[in-house]
Amino acid sequence: MLSAIFVALILHLIGGACGLAGEKFALRVVYLLSAAASGLAALAALAFLLGDGTPIEAVLPIGLPWLPAHFRLDALSTAFLFILNLVAALVSVFAHGYGTHDFEPKRILPLYPVFLAAMNLVLLADDAYSFLVSWEFMSLSSWLLVLANHRDKQTSHAAAVYLIMASFGAVALLLAFGILAGIGGDYSFAAIRHATPGMLPASLVVALVLLGAGSKAGLVPLHAWLPLAHPAAPSHVSALMSGVMTKVAIYALIRVLFDLVGSPIWWWGGIILLLGALSALLGVLYAVMQSDLKTLLAYSTVENVGIITIGIGLALAFKASGLTTLAGLSLLAALLHVFNHALFKSLLFLGAGAVLVATGQRDIERLGGLIHRMPVTAATFLVGAAAISALPPLNGFASEWLVFQAILNGTVLPQWLLKFALPVVGLMLALAAALAAVCFVRAYGIVFLGRPRRPEAAVAEEVPAVMRAPLAVLAALCVVFGILPGALIGLLLPVMRQLLGPNAVPFSHSTGLWLVPLRAEQSSYSGLIVFLMIAGLVGLLVWVIHRFASARVRRAPAWDCGFPDPRPQTQYTGSSFAQPIRRVFGTTAFRARETLDMPAPGETRPAHFAINLRDLVWEGFYQPFIRLVAWATEQIDTLQFLTIRRYLTLTFASLVLLLTIVAVWQ
């Protein structure tokens, strides 16, 4: 199975080479090759997950002559490989139609397969060298993809911020692996797994990994680059970055925390839990305020990464206290949400891409009424919006429900601080889930419902079948995994056994019909029955009412309390829809201020209304840092104008200093 994945990687490389050929040829070949390669890899991963789960290892003589690259296929990496390649295959099919609308396809085609291959390699890597090299390839290729539309001024700003954050994250990961490998310097994961670092180095590793992987995943406060960079890329790349690349970062987090760093300490879990809750709440609050559809989706990624992180933190805390069954439940909830979010977020980004192709607009205030012009896109986007708002019986609800179950059971933890933190985390998660529904009612209602606000939206055409098909498949997967979450859980149970030992068996009472996290009398849920009951009841209602009451429909102008206005400008806009939330939460979270300048009667100047939102994370966290760096560079600047003798003195002084340190150390 590993060889099948390597074949897929080679196909990606061929695809990358084809991307360098003529534009017409490349457009026809590259995305199809990527789709085929990803499909092959997804099938191989599925086969592994259905098998007995014995890890497959390979050592390839790539890289430096005395440092061969280690690769390994185990349950954890395969689970992520499966979702990565499943989504990538569907996105590539969409891209086959979307790519022709790209501004400069030549800037995307060679890099797209490289990006996919790099993400695969990160998941396969079994030593720190190949992990970090693949990680850097992933960062750089995605950075170049963000730059595809480089003439846009905002894009170059986004790319600059992304590059800084990516380099920062890579440095943090490099240091983390340096500490893990220790003085011995054996960088293979097998050796790291056997070493047992002390408490201080281990905590340092956790902090560094949180910085490195957390910045890539978009955890608050390291999320600043994400809502800039993800929307700037072409839509199919955005779907991959938001849907999958953040998951690769989550993979890195899980790999280090549960596999490499040794036995956990409870407060690691507490800190991760709080970071996750903060990301979930802040992410969705930002999302509600956005008027750019893709930026909105990117902020909602921050929210969902937060939800996943809550699950991971909780699992870590449970594991530290020896409660393996509960740890298994939390980690499974997190992994399930990884799957589900990858599905619906790529669906939503592709839907946004379809809207972009059809109308040329990303600003929701210029759209509207697309449900009439683009029925398939509208229907699939609705499924995605409902799934991400955690509505039963779709898949988003199944995983969020499990996270809630894990939190409710968390009160058995012995640590007081965690006991008190958990209700607060539960509250923040509940707020985030409810606000996500607000956010997506707004996004869907403004973009697809109502009347077209601009002519572009009024003349939009549905996208071709090659783009509709992946949307339909993703929407269908959201429904299927929602009503049968047990199928996914069955696939993921080997991961629990690998990371938490054979005793981590939540769901032992689950059947195909019922999802029972721990005990049947405690809680249970059945998406299938909810689905069947709603379908059955709707059928019954339609039949009874149409048969015995009335079935006639008359069309008439809208009622609107007797004062309908034909101008589409009189509709509620995105910002007016967000006004109550802005008033309730925004005055604290964003220092939201509304200024209204209303001319007196008789005056001829126009009225003016402005909303002022401040990004407190940027102001409180990044700007002091930027000022510090600016100050430091100014200080160091003097070093540029020294004489040769002074330079030699500096070199000599540092040499002596280092020698002294070595002498003292011994």
Partner: protein
Amino acid sequence: MLSIAYDAAHLIDGSVLLISFALLYQRRLLAVFNAFSLQALLIACAAAWQAYVQDAPHLYVTAAIALIFKAIVIPYALRRIVARLQIHHTIETVIGVGSTMTAGVALVALSILLVLPVTFASGALTRESLAIALSVVLIGLLMMITRRNAITQVIGFMSLENGLILAAIGVKGMPLVVEMSIAFSVMVAFIIFGIFFFHIRERFDTLDMQYIETFRGDQR
């Protein structure tokens, strides 16, 4: 018997805390007075109940003091003051009600975290009374710093005193002297505040502390 004793005390204590939050939530001055009367009434109930359970008759005195002065006399007097001074009936807050209440919940969590480890050996009732009493005290302080109006600051101060009484009656064998002194301190404070209201009013024409602060000598 023990279980009912505990349950009833638990219920009263919790209600006192609830009223503290109601005090934070209210925006109208008269509603604040009503809530404060209710809190004092609950304190009286708590004291009487403890007197009955602990068989400590001096606590009945505490209950009577709380009932007469705090539940009836002081709110009535305050109403008179408001009526005579024609003070505006809405309360101006320094920070929003939502944020204040969130801070209040955080203070409750803090006091529970503080009290529980210390009183681990003692019974559930003592532990809980102390935790709730500390919360009521802290919320009273919070109310004093988040309200601009001088009268609500007085109410905050007296709600703080309620918290102290709650702590005193929850612990067995607390002598009456302490309670008397507490009650007197409240009275004294009330009288002082009452006098001050008139003087402030005469002099500055407002009870809003923000305006008064600008008259302070040490400010530039």
